[in-house]
């Protein structure tokens, strides 16, 4: 490995610091502290043990009575879902993904690890985040959300952190949740800023937008998992490279006529057209990857849509005309393989409708969606596209 002067100095100084330290005597190891840190674990273990003992006692009593007649099993459906296992986040171990390994197997009904809204309640890693929430987005335990009081927050766990500053447009988080970007009104002009979503939330710096005139206002269109940020206004389509060289360039020069209109787990949603009037409802939208040199590489063709989410293997969408009007929910979601080799329709359980802005691919072949009843009851479903099936998720 080649090091420059600064790196050589770093190596030397870190070694010098470590070598010259006066090491204090090791403190007496406080075993009692370890025992007291996780009261929930022994409590749960004790509860589990009690259940086992109870089962054994019942089994013993039952089998030990020769005159006892076993009742016939009650009629009913054979259970197909595994016992839900809620993730148990710890300070050192990320929660386990609650999806099923087998594509054709039963669909888990466990709460998702990803940030999810149920009504006005926000859950992150299975834990409820304080407050009432209108919006949330993110992945794993990294999220952004809007509270009922219109303030925006972010987090890398269930503890919310305030996003300071005046924002006229919502912030955007990258598909994997690692980065966020937003446009802040600083009084004398707009500033495009970003940060990672780890503890410490290290900032990207900012891009001064005070010279930009745009109607509608400039908004962040996408943040990639590489930390590239796409911002769109009525006369500009910039991509910012805060983790590469901090510079911005105009995508209209590197990808003329192409407009980035959103992002998904599988890449950016792009369509041809004018900057201020292009969306996914018409034309020939497609999925693309953005390279640091500003090249848009086509990954797959997309159907026209109001809302679309693409995962590694499948995409799900609602067709144009679904959003708006008085409709608050959709009766079905269209799904198709990215390579076009298969397609289907997802329907929620009876009495439920999909909230059209509330679905995402939890894994390659599992989709989680917010659902609602006509009476306003909120729920969640987990669906698989092939064979198509959705089940209600057990809520906390």
């Amino acid at each position: 490995m080649m090091y420059d002067d600064l790196e050589q100095t770093l190596i030397r100084e870190l070694d010098d610091v470590a070598s010259n330290l006066v090491i204090p005597e090791r403190p007496t190891f406080p075993v009692a502290e370890r025992r007291s840190r996780r009261l929930a674990v022994p409590a749960m273990a004790a509860a589990a043990a009690a259940v086992v003992v109870l089962i054994l006692v019942v089994t013993f009593l039952t089998s030990g009575d020769p005159d006892r007649v076993e009742p016939a099993p009650s009629p009913g459906p054979t259970p197909t879902s595994p016992t839900p296992t809620a993730p148990t986040p710890t300070d050192s171990t990320p929660p386990t993904e609650a999806t099923d390994p087998a594509a054709g197997g039963p669909i888990s009904t466990a709460m998702p690890v990803d940030p999810v809204l149920v009504g006005l309640d926000l859950f992150v890693g299975g834990e409820q985040v304080p407050g009432e929430w209108y919006n949330a987005d993110g992945r794993g335990t990294h999220w952004i959300g809007r509270r009922a009081d219109e303030t925006w927050w972010w987090g890398y766990d269930a503890e919310p952190q305030r996003l300071e500053g005046v924002m006229q447009q919502p912030p955007v988080i990258s598909p994997s949740g690692g980065y966020l970007a937003r446009i802040v009104d600083e009084g004398n002009g707009l500033m495009l800023v970003g940060a990672d979503t780890e503890e410490g939330g290290e900032g990207f710096g900012g891009v001064d937008l005070s010279d930009i005139t745009s109607d509608p206002p400039v908004r962040v269109e996408a943040v990639t998992d590489d930390g590239l940020v796409v911002a769109r206004g009525s006369s500009m389509l910039w991509w910012w490279r805060p983790l590469v060289d901090g510079q911005t360039d105009d995508l209209q020069e590197t990808a003329p006529g192409q407009v980035v209109i959103g992002s998904t787990d599988a890449g950016l949603i792009v369509n041809e057209g004018e900057l201020d009037e292009t969306d996914g409802t018409q034309g020939a939208p497609y999925l693309a990857r953005l390279s640091p040199d500003g090249t848009l590489t086509r990954v797959a063709d997309l159907p026209t849509h109001d809302v679309l989410e693409a995962g590694a293997e499948w995409l799900a969408y609602v067709p144009p005309g679904t959003v708006g009007g008085e409709a608050s929910a959709a009766t079905e979601l269209q799904v198709q393989r990215l390579d076009g080799s298969g397609a289907g329709v997802l329907t929620p359980p009876d009495g439920w409708g999909f909230i059209v802005l509330g679905f995402w691919w939890e894994s390659d072949d599992r989709l989680v969606a917010r659902v609602v009843t006509e009476n306003g009851e909120s729920g969640l479903v987990r669906c698989r596209p092939d064979p198509a099936e959705c089940v209600l998720i057990d809520l906390p």
Binding site: D4, L6, E7, T9, L10, I11, E13, L14, D15, D16, V17, A18, N20, L21, I23, P24, R26, P27, F29, P30, V31, E33, R34, R37, D91, S92, P94, W154, Q161, L163, E164, G178, V193, A195, D196, E198, E199, G200, G201, E202, G203, F204, G205, G206, D226, G227, P242, L243, V244, G246
Partner: protein
């Protein structure tokens, strides 16, 4: 550099023996991460507590030093810090003002170490893992639970901040 724990050493020892032998190395790592003795002692001790809690896993691990390192670094990164530190704008050209290092001692004469202590925690962790432990980007990514690309970008920002702190405007 003394390894935090070798597999042979772990297998041959009880936890108490391991803790006694690993303490100096753990403390050195903890000091480089935290930048002061009080926090280093807390961090090293918390790490040992967690190692004790997972002793059967540590003792049986293929690479126990990797396991212990992960505990140490993640304990450091998960320590709550003042809210003002979060989401601060910290580009390469907006690094924090240098803080006057403590008087006395060889550290006082060092060029970069005072600025390493001022780096945000994740950047500092990457610097220590890369230039003290000489880990590869993949190994650092494994330790931090992130992608190699994130390690690369974090290291880039850390070095840029250090150069800015030194008043050196050169690119890498």
């Amino acid at each position: 550099m003394v390894p935090m724990a070798s597999r042979a050493g772990v297998q041959a020892s009880t936890f108490d023996e391991y803790a006694a032998s690993a303490w100096p190395s753990l403390y050195r790592h903890a000091y480089l991460l935290s930048g002061n003795h009080a926090d280093a002692e807390d961090l090293a001790q918390q790490t040992l507590i967690k190692v004790h809690g997972a002793w059967s896993k540590v003792a049986g691990a293929e690479a126990p030093q990797t396991y212990v390192r992960r505990i140490l670094v993640n304990t450091f990164l998960s320590t709550k810090r003042p809210m003002a530190r979060r989401l601060e704008v910290l580009a390469g050209d907006q690094a924090p003002e240098p803080v006057t290092p403590p008087a006395d001692g060889p550290e006082d004469r060092m060029t970069l170490w005072p600025h390493v202590r001022d780096l945000p925690p994740r950047q500092r962790a990457v610097i220590v893992l890369r230039y003290y432990e000489h880990l590869s980007e993949a190994e650092i990514a494994d330790t931090l639970g992130c992608s190699a690309g994130t390690v690369k970008s974090t290291a880039h920002r850390a070095l840029a901040n250090l150069r800015t702190s030194l008043g050196d405007g050169r690119d890498e």
